[in-house]
Symmetry: C2
Subunit: 358 residues, 2 copies
């Protein structure tokens, strides 16, 4: 933990303990955009007012908030849900309760919380949230893991659980295996004894990345063009054909995943980085009975109870405590350095997730 963050936390806790004595926070700093467009052009760091803390509200200090690809798409105006403008960027992060309204029942000062839904605007130093719009997470997990728990690992766990009944010895195949979701898939699958076939675009230092994914538990790491070569059949002499394919790319990459799927298997699409549709041969649907589905963690959370969301988070926290799941590779950047973080997040083959530290 950086000195910066340690001192911040100490101050936050001190503030929390004396919440009834100190002058209430009424303003905070936030990364705001008034128009959709290129994030590095439209995002500005501004002082913004906080609404008064109502009886069912909590005032929180944001501790850490990641930059996810969907955050960028939301600012660009290309995402499925868009906030009213002006808006604060960011949809995920971990915050600490520093003040609680008189009728708040489920949260206490000092608790760590994460947003329940997308659209909360987490790139800021503090916020007032309705109690029901946040969910408590335990404070014994690493801060960066808490900051990145609600989107990518939730997506990974639900995709592993909700489409095919995977048992130890079964396999799955995924592209974009180095994404935040991809890394979580590798680890959760490994914890369950499920083999993973991980597909990456060729890139500088491929071998190093491959080693890193194998250290996380990846069974096989292959380059995208190897999917089209007959020698992949060698791999399937020792590894069963996958029941599940996870697709964050679309286009040819998705078609290749489909080609290797077991009869009756499912491909779940959760991203479309290539901006190409998924081309599904009709014979794969009719004769191979492949199922082509999609997953969006925001919809999943909206369609499920708090209890179901909490159960998923608890499962992930248990894996974190057991050392079977870790946060993705992260680069911590102070909120004030947001331009650097946004630029780094826009690079192809980004090696680390950018985390804004406030």
């Amino acid at each position: 933990m950086s000195l910066y963050r340690r001192s911040f936390l100490a101050a936050a806790l001190l503030g929390a303990a004396r919440a009834h004595n100190i002058r209430r926070l009424s303003r905070c700093q936030a990364l705001v955009y008034a128009n959709h467009g290129d994030p590095s052009r439209v995002i500005q760091l501004k002082n913004v007012d906080l609404r008064p803390v109502g009886p069912k509200d909590v005032l929180v200090k944001i501790l850490a908030a990641p930059i996810n690809p969907s955050d960028i798409n939301m600012i660009q105006g290309t995402y499925a849900i868009l906030p009213e403008l002006p808006a604060v960027g960011g949809n995920e992060g971990v915050a600490q309760v520093v003040e609680a309204g008189g009728r708040v029942a489920s949260l206490q000062i000092g608790d760590w919380v994460i947003p329940r839904d997308a659209g909360s605007g987490t790139w800021r130093t503090a916020a007032v949230f309705d109690e029901d719009d946040v969910i408590a997470v335990p404070r014994d997990i690493p801060l960066l893991a808490a900051a990145t728990l609600g989107v990518n690992p939730c997506t990974a766990l639900r995709m592993l659980a909700d489409f095919e009944h995977l048992q130890p010895g079964d396999s799955l195949i995924q592209n974009a295996a180095n994404s935040g979701v991809g890394q979580a898939v590798i680890q959760i699958a490994a914890a369950r004894g499920i083999d993973t076939i991980n597909v990456l675009r060729d890139r500088p230092q491929f071998a190093r990345l491959s080693d890193r994914l194998k250290a996380l538990g990846a069974s096989h790491v292959i380059k995208e063009d190897a999917l089209r070569r007959p020698d992949l059949e060698e791999l399937f002499k020792t590894c069963p054909k996958p029941k599940l394919a996870l697709n964050a790319v679309g286009g040819k990459s998705a078609t290749e995943l489909l080609r290797h799927l077991q009869v009756g298997g499912t491909m779940v699409t959760y991203g479309g980085m290539s901006k190409q549709p998924v081309a599904v041969p009709t014979s794969a649907l009719i004769f191979k009975d492949v199922k082509v589905r999609g997953f969006w963690v925001t919809r999943w959370k909206r369609q499920h109870s708090n209890g179901a969301v909490r159960a998923t988070l608890a499962e992930l926290c248990a894996l974190l405590r057991q050392g079977k799941l870790s946060a993705p590779a992260c680069a911590e950047v102070p909120l004030s350095d947001y331009r650097r973080a946004l630029d780094a997040a826009a690079q192809p083959f980004a090696a680390a997730k950018q985390i804004l530290i406030t």
Copy 2:
């Protein structure tokens, strides 16, 4: 019923009644192919030996057997399952039991039967089948309906039942609405109070075909290019967005069906006439939660018990008796005129299903 068939039936029944007295059939005529290729080139009418009738076998006279698109693909060698060659063409039809082995329990002489599975080779005058490879159908339904019951109407009924829970007032959209499956879908859906939006390629005498489909119960009949026009939204002011899309075409036509599907709806592909894959936008999968599936009645029958297959056939027979389902438009052609039938089946915009009468 033609004179030809009436006299044939009388002879068959007479033969059945005297089965123990008359000389057993040991040969029949059949449409045989020794190589894959263009059906009109590789198919020949030949005399072939019948195997002896074993204790669990039945000897049947084939009464009527359709030419389905999948029969053509099987002869061409492009289908998912191919018989050992030389083979007899045809996978569907109705036959009458004229002799039963001593241990046959479920069938009696005179019963009408249809094949349980694909690959039985129905384009012939007679055959010996294992009792378990055929299923009895009632004799109070029209002969042409019995001959075409096991593939297209079964496909239609299962696609309506097994993917989305459709209730009266719901709607579905389908392309190739004039196909054998399409006509059965229109009728079964109408019987259940489900609106159908039926898409056809533009063609000569479109209005006449549209009227015919509406007489079967089609709620809406539209040309394919209307799917891309905004005025289709007019239709959706009175008709709910479809929960189910049935696709026998692929390519752009399938993408257009997907575009009109309700959030969370399913597209089921059962044919690929355009020979183009189904292009699925990743956003439709992720944000609209559309499910893309396939259906193959042969697999369905193989994966289900005789009881389940019989229940489906019984449901279809009940609709036939109630006048809510009829055989598709058929052209009856004597087996010896098979070249004419094969040529007619290969025409685009075929107005009638070719039925070989033996």
